[in-house]
């Protein structure tokens, strides 16, 4: 009898342990509210959009290491790393259960949504306390302000355009592009590259809609900045004569065979590889690829702002030196003085002259504009960009693709690639954007 009872209790106990074990095993580990590590230092988490910051975001990694070294025993920054897509999902989940890291990178199109949800700290106070940082950031910080204040600060400064391989231009007998090179000149270039079996402009669309940086200039030269507010307000449509003319040019490039035949099955990284190994003459990207081009193409690299267009009255002398996506601070940071102090100290260091030097060393343009910064002679790709910047062309305050919400941004990417892959006519592509905009209102 006693043994039977024991068995009953034993089975009930086992069942309970199983249930509790299963549920707790699958739940979040819970965040340590005490941000002090064993050594007494305040630990702050930095959510970053790459899986391996040491390899994929060397400059940020070096800045964090330098900060940790300088503040040993006091503050420590640790990465929460995941690839961009996972990072985006992780941050949304973390926002919903209040476990966001203290500092994190956000896609510019998503940041206003976080701000509206009230999970971001207004950094106006930080800037007011640190006028040197405020001055160094200049107009770069204005991309991340709204009625709630300064919801983020630029992670870096993005310089975007078309890199080209001088060796392949020489081989095909094509003159290097200049600021005067028109769209019609570009079509002639493409024909010559095709004759020589060279891919004119490498680009991949598989899971890589975002990789359209070279076309930000094209959009800007057809009046994107001038019209986007009225389009978003509903006073105008994306399907207007300026943007139709703009998208017609993309169609023209596709018709001329500018892109790899398999652009639908290659990703941004594959497209870059075609450029790196000398199969493609041009590749649109930003300064984050400079170090890779130095290694693979060396002093044969050139940089161009893309073609100018003669069928539009909008300003053509447009460069693309714009704030990149923001880094933002969790609003909960304000609840703990020690953590807030650590976060502000890190931001101060991140936007310091010392960090800017580390940036230039890694061929990345920092968001700050300290005097006396420059690249070494062997930083060929960055020097090519600096030469292009020396022309003094103006940049829009924000890259066109970052001026819209994430849903419209995705529609923009689909539309651009749809025209380039000939699955949409320019008008259909723009209608798609209008539809998405309508559905997000």
């Amino acid at each position: 009898m006693r043994s039977k009872k024991l068995k009953k209790w034993y089975s009930v106990l086992l069942t309970s342990v199983m249930v509790v074990g299963l549920l707790t095993g699958c739940s979040f580990s819970g965040k340590d509210s005490d941000k002090r590590a064993d050594g007494g230092e305040v630990v702050i988490d930095f959510g970053i959009h790459v899986a391996n910051p040491k390899e994929q975001e060397k400059v940020t990694y070096n800045i964090v290491q330098a900060f940790n070294e300088k503040n040993k025993g006091k503050y420590k920054v640790e990465f929460q790393a995941a690839d961009t897509e996972s990072h985006s999902k992780n941050m949304k989940l973390a926002a919903s259960d209040n476990t966001l890291p203290e500092i994190f990178w956000l896609d510019a199109s998503e940041a206003p949504e976080y701000d509206e949800a009230g999970v971001l700290l207004d950094l106006s106070g930080f800037l007011a306390q640190n006028s040197d940082v405020k001055n160094a950031l200049g107009s770069m910080k204005s991309a991340f302000t709204d009625d709630n204040g300064q919801f983020g600060l630029p992670y870096q400064c993005n310089v975007q355009g078309i890199f080209y391989n001088k060796e392949l231009f020489d081989k095909a007998g094509v003159a290097y592009p200049t600021n005067e090179t028109t769209y019609e000149d570009m079509l002639s270039m493409i024909a010559k590259f095709k004759e020589n079996g060279i891919i004119p402009l490498s680009i991949g669309s598989k899971n890589s809609g975002f990789a359209m940086w070279e076309f930000n200039e094209t959009l800007a030269r057809y009046g994107w900045e001038e019209n986007i507010e009225s389009i978003l307000a509903g006073d105008k449509k994306f399907n207007n004569k300026d943007l139709v003319a703009c998208f017609e040019k993309l169609k023209g490039l596709a018709d001329a065979g500018a892109f790899p035949e398999n652009m639908a099955t290659i990703e941004y990284f594959d497209a870059k590889q075609l450029f790196n190994i000398g199969q493609a003459a041009m590749f649109g990207t930003g300064q984050w690829d400079c170090a890779e081009f130095d290694k693979n193409i060396g002093n044969k690299i050139g940089f161009w702002w893309g073609p100018i267009f003669t069928d539009t009255a909008y300003e053509q002398k447009i460069a693309m030196k714009v704030p990149s996506a923001p880094i933002v601070v969790n609003a909960k940071v304000a609840e703990d003085k020690a953590v807030q102090e650590a976060v502000f100290e890190f931001l101060k260091f991140y936007y310091s002259k010392e960090a800017a030097e580390l940036s230039y060393e890694g061929s990345i343009f920092p968001a700050t504009n300290y005097e006396g910064m420059g690249a070494a002679d062997t930083q060929y790709a960055m020097n090519a960009m600096l030469n292009a910047l020396a022309s003094g062309w103006k940049s829009p305050s924000t890259a066109p693709d970052l001026t819209v919400t994430s849903a419209v941004q995705e529609a923009l990417y689909n539309s651009l690639f749809g025209v380039m892959q000939k699955t949409y006519t320019p008008e259909e592509a723009l209608d798609l954007m209008d539809d998405v905009l309508k559905n997000t209102k």
């Binding site: 299963l22 598989k206 809609g209 790899p260």
Partner: protein, 290 residues
């Protein structure tokens, strides 16, 4: 162990499974369905929209394209997998030379991670670097070269073939297990009565394997509605969502375009469709059993 067979103990032992099933299967379905009636970007509060997402869905050209692709894959995979897997199982159920090695070879794709399967097939089907087009060119059949993946037409057919290749061994194994269950004396009696191979299959094997065939059919139906990695790896749903299936389109809308509410309405419709097709199949086969 008499005491364990009491009703209340049975319930006690079922509770953990029930709790886990409810928390991880039933509850997420309920939450997903409830989000399908809202506009939600993943941040902040969801806004109730009523049936707007479902109305939008039926007006969405890409939804119909992804449904069409899913149906192409479903029909091809269903017909090919059921017939070819069954025929191969019949073949491998005989005492042939190297039958074990053949079974292992046919089963091998089933143990490869779907993401790797996708990568392997990219190297076969890619219009530029793929072996298939290169072989066609080498044999002077350049005019037969196609955009097997990444084009507008062939992508769903290619996905069906890849899925067929991946699942074949697994389903052959289930069929072989079913064949082994048929009593030898029934088969022997059939042979003594003078039945030929075709008659054996038609009058004994198929009727006696009805349950196995139904199981395989349900596995194929539900499997097709879960194809994700193959599409992601070969085309990423492109060009311009034209090779999306319902699942990848739902994923893309939810996580890439941040239309969580609309993405959940797509997921709900996908779930309902697979339920309906499975129910229809079960109903039709049940009728025949009568």
């Amino acid at each position: 162990m008499y005491w364990l067979s009491k009703k209340r103990y049975k319930i006690g032992f079922l509770i953990p499974t029930l709790v886990v099933y409810s928390v991880f299967i039933i509850l997420p379905i309920i939450i997903a369905v409830s989000y399908s009636f809202t506009r939600y970007s993943g941040i902040g509060k969801a806004k109730f929209l009523g049936l707007d997402n479902y109305i939008r869905l039926f007006q969405d050209k890409l939804f119909w394209i992804s449904l069409k692709n899913t149906m192409i894959i479903f029909v091809l995979a269903f017909v090919l997998l059921l017939t070819v897997a069954f025929l191969i199982a019949l073949l491998l159920n005989n005492r042939l030379k190297a039958v074990d090695a053949s079974k292992a070879l046919i089963f091998s794709p089933a143990i490869i991670a779907p993401i790797i399967v996708g990568i392997i097939w990219v190297y076969i089907l890619d219009p530029n670097i793929g072996i298939l087009n290169n072989i066609l060119e080498a044999f002077g059949a350049s005019e037969m070269k196609q955009k097997w993946i990444g084009g507008e037409f062939w992508s769903p057919y290619s996905v069906a073939i890849i899925y067929f290749w991946q699942q074949l061994g697994y389903l052959v194994t289930i069929f072989i297990a079913g064949l082994k269950m048929i009593p030898n004396d029934v088969m022997e009696a059939m042979r003594i009565d003078g039945a030929n191979g075709f008659q054996e299959v038609k009058y004994v094997i198929i009727p006696m394997m009805k349950t196995t065939i139904s199981t395989v059919a349900v596995l194929v139906i539900t499997g097709v509605f879960k194809i994700f990695e193959i599409v992601q790896q070969t085309t990423g749903g492109g060009p311009n969502h034209l090779s999306e299936t319902l699942v990848t389109y739902s994923y893309s809308m939810t996580f890439t375009s941040s239309h969580y509410g609309y993405g959940m309405s797509l997921a709900t419709v996908t779930f309902l469709l697979s339920l309906i097709i499975t129910a229809i199949y079960s109903f039709l086969t049940k009728e025949k059993e009568r």
